[in-house]
């Protein structure tokens, strides 16, 4: 293992985060606060309770997941897309490092960044509503698993994209709708039964449900299933990344 190379890529990417602190950390925190004002205070005052917890409290795990998902994808996709765009990827490809090490460096940095962000948002939420986390270890497990999985997914998008438009397309057209329809702001049980069945095809439902369970022990689907689905998606992403590097897809002629 070329640990120094992993370290170099990781620190390089993290330096980019600190340099773009406003965009990386502050703006998601601001938008999450807005969600709290709009959904938590305005709408929440009419819904009051979902499955025994106040609406404001209920949406916290969903909001954290929303940010972690979208930020993981955008961090990781941009992280690998930019060197391709600027041409500096030549150096990565000519360095004595394995593909596995490249992925650890980029995906590790993207995931770290979104985990930090998730925790900051959680702390921000604590300013609006009282928080209690029943299973902190599981909470962290879900957080880390989701951050890593979607950073990998973002890495794939960043390699696939050959223009800024494509870089935005998947997050905008696929991920955002799935997240909003994934039970961030409501319990799937609140939907009519037909819609409920359709929702179960949405992978994000499992992530949010599992994450919410670690807070309040309430879940739309069983925790085991949540964990299984997340792990399944993680493995699928790993397989695609392995294929990309084996064939040199969009990286090497």
């Amino acid at each position: 293992m070329n640990y120094r190379a992993i370290r170099a890529i990781y620190l390089f990417e993290m330096a980019r985060t600190w340099r773009t602190l406003l965009q990386s950390i502050v703006s998601p925190v601001v938008s999450t606060s807005l969600y709290f004002v709009v959904f938590g205070a305005a709408i929440g005052s009419r819904i009051t309770e979902v499955e025994g917890v106040s609406y404001g409290t209920f949406i916290v795990p969903g909001l954290v997941m929303l940010s972690v998902l979208t930020q993981s994808i955008s961090n990781a996709s941009f992280g690998i897309y930019f060197p391709k765009f600027a041409g500096t990827i030549y150096e990565i490809l000519s360095a004595p490092i394995s593909y596995f090490e490249i992925v650890i460096g980029y995906v590790g940095a993207a995931a770290t960044k979104s985990i930090i962000l998730g925790l900051i948002i959680l702390a921000t939420a604590g300013l609006f509503v009282p928080l209690h986390i029943q299973h902190p270890v599981w909470m962290l497990t879900f957080l880390v698993l989701t951050a890593v999985t979607f950073s990998l997914f973002g890495f794939i998008i960043g390699i696939w994209a050959d223009g800024f438009e494509k870089l935005q397309m998947i997050p905008m057209l696929v991920v955002t709708p799935l997240t909003f329809l994934g039970g961030s702001f409501y319990s799937v049980n609140m939907l009519p039964s037909g819609w409920r069945t359709i929702t179960l095809f949405n992978p994000v439902v499992y992530l949010i449900s599992g994450f919410r369970w670690s807070f309040y022990e309430i879940a739309d689907v069983s925790v085991g299933l949540s964990l299984g689905m997340t792990a399944g998606f993680l493995i699928a992403c790993m397989v695609i990344v392995a294929w990309i590097f084996r064939t040199g897809y969009r990286l090497k002629n």
Binding site: N2, R4, A5, R7, A8, I9, L11, F12, A15, R16, R19, A86, G87, T88, Y90, E91, I92, L93, S94, A95, P96, I97, S98, G248, K252, N253
Partner: protein, 307 residues
């Protein structure tokens, strides 16, 4: 001594069906400066890209210091520093950060003293804290060289190192290259500027349409293909070359005050003695003479045209 780079039967066919390289065989000796010449699209960059791991070969193999570039890529790549043709740099990082990053990427432990030396050698030391985006094109080029040298490579690839660089800076870069060679680094450079190859290289390879059409010591090449030209300044104006001198294929200058004679240095007889005799017999008086060796450029142009 075994070659430091050994390319055997290397071919590259792109997805479009374009054959960029056709069975290249090339050995690079340890410690030499090798210049690869060729017109645009000849395959220079493709060859370098494959050796450095940026493109995949279609056929054939490459070994760096005995290490296969695919099977043993770590050992092979850690010996190489690459300065590509295009100015690909980060934008917002400082010079120091980007050069240190390169060293880490190649798995070398931190060594601020070495980075300092590289930056000083390339006259970048006072710019070390500047963001790369604020630098001029020539400085960015030197930053890329600094990145390539950051991990102390034994082989340095310079793909068109002085394209778009002013004369002063070009001379400075040649100086750097010579110093590197003196410290034992093998250098492979591609160039459009033939004077650069003529000035720098120990050996010269010419590539055209994906094939190596010539590899030769520079001196031998110049000698072997070197035509010389004798120019004679005349005391009085000539309207035409006298008939008696027709066999020499002399060329009369437009003003009629000079004739030029082409001869081959590798021939046993250059014909100069008899030319001078015949000129005297024809009553032509000479005021001055000089000879000129044809440049590598002439050789190159004639080679590429032949194919």
């Amino acid at each position: 001594m075994s070659p430091i780079i050994s390319v055997s039967n290397l071919s590259k066919t792109y997805g479009s069906g374009f054959k960029a390289l056709k069975g290249i065989n090339l050995d690079i000796n340890r410690g030499e400066i090798f210049a690869l010449l060729g017109p645009n699209g000849a395959g220079k960059t493709t060859l370098i890209s494959i050796i450095c791991g940026i493109a995949n070969p279609s056929e054939g193999r490459v070994a760096i210091g005995g290490h296969d570039i695919i099977r043993d890529y770590r050992a092979a790549r850690s010996m190489i520093g690459l300065v590509p043709q295009e100015l690909h740099t980060d934008a917002f990082e400082s010079v120091w950060a980007t050069v240190s990053f390169s060293r880490g990427l190649f798995g070398k432990p931190k060594n601020p003293a070495h980075i300092e030396k590289v930056l000083k050698d390339l006259s970048l030391w006072d710019k070390k804290d500047n963001k790369i985006i604020t630098l001029s094109g020539g400085m960015k080029r030197r930053v890329m060289i600094a990145k390539a040298l950051s991990h102390e490579p034994q082989i340095l690839f310079l793909d068109e190192p002085t394209a778009g660089v002013d004369v002063e800076l070009r001379k400075g870069m040649w100086e750097v290259v010579r110093t590197l060679q003196a410290s034992g680094v093998t250098i492979i450079l591609t160039t459009h500027y033939i004077e650069e190859a003529e000035e720098m290289a120990d050996r010269i390879g010419v590539i055209n349409k994906g094939e190596i059409i010539l590899i030769e010591d520079k001196a031998t090449l110049m000698q072997k293909l070197g035509k010389k030209q004798l120019t004679l300044q005349l005391q009085s104006r000539l309207d035409a070359v006298p008939l008696a001198l027709a066999a020499y294929n002399l060329e009369l200058s437009d003003d009629g005050h000079a004739v030029t004679y082409d001869y081959d240095t590798k021939g046993d007889r250059t014909g100069i003695t008899s030319l001078l005799n015949d000129l005297r017999n024809a009553g032509v008086r000479i005021s001055d003479l000089d000879t000129r060796q044809s440049s590598l450029e002439d050789i190159f142009v004639s080679l590429v045209r032949q194919v």
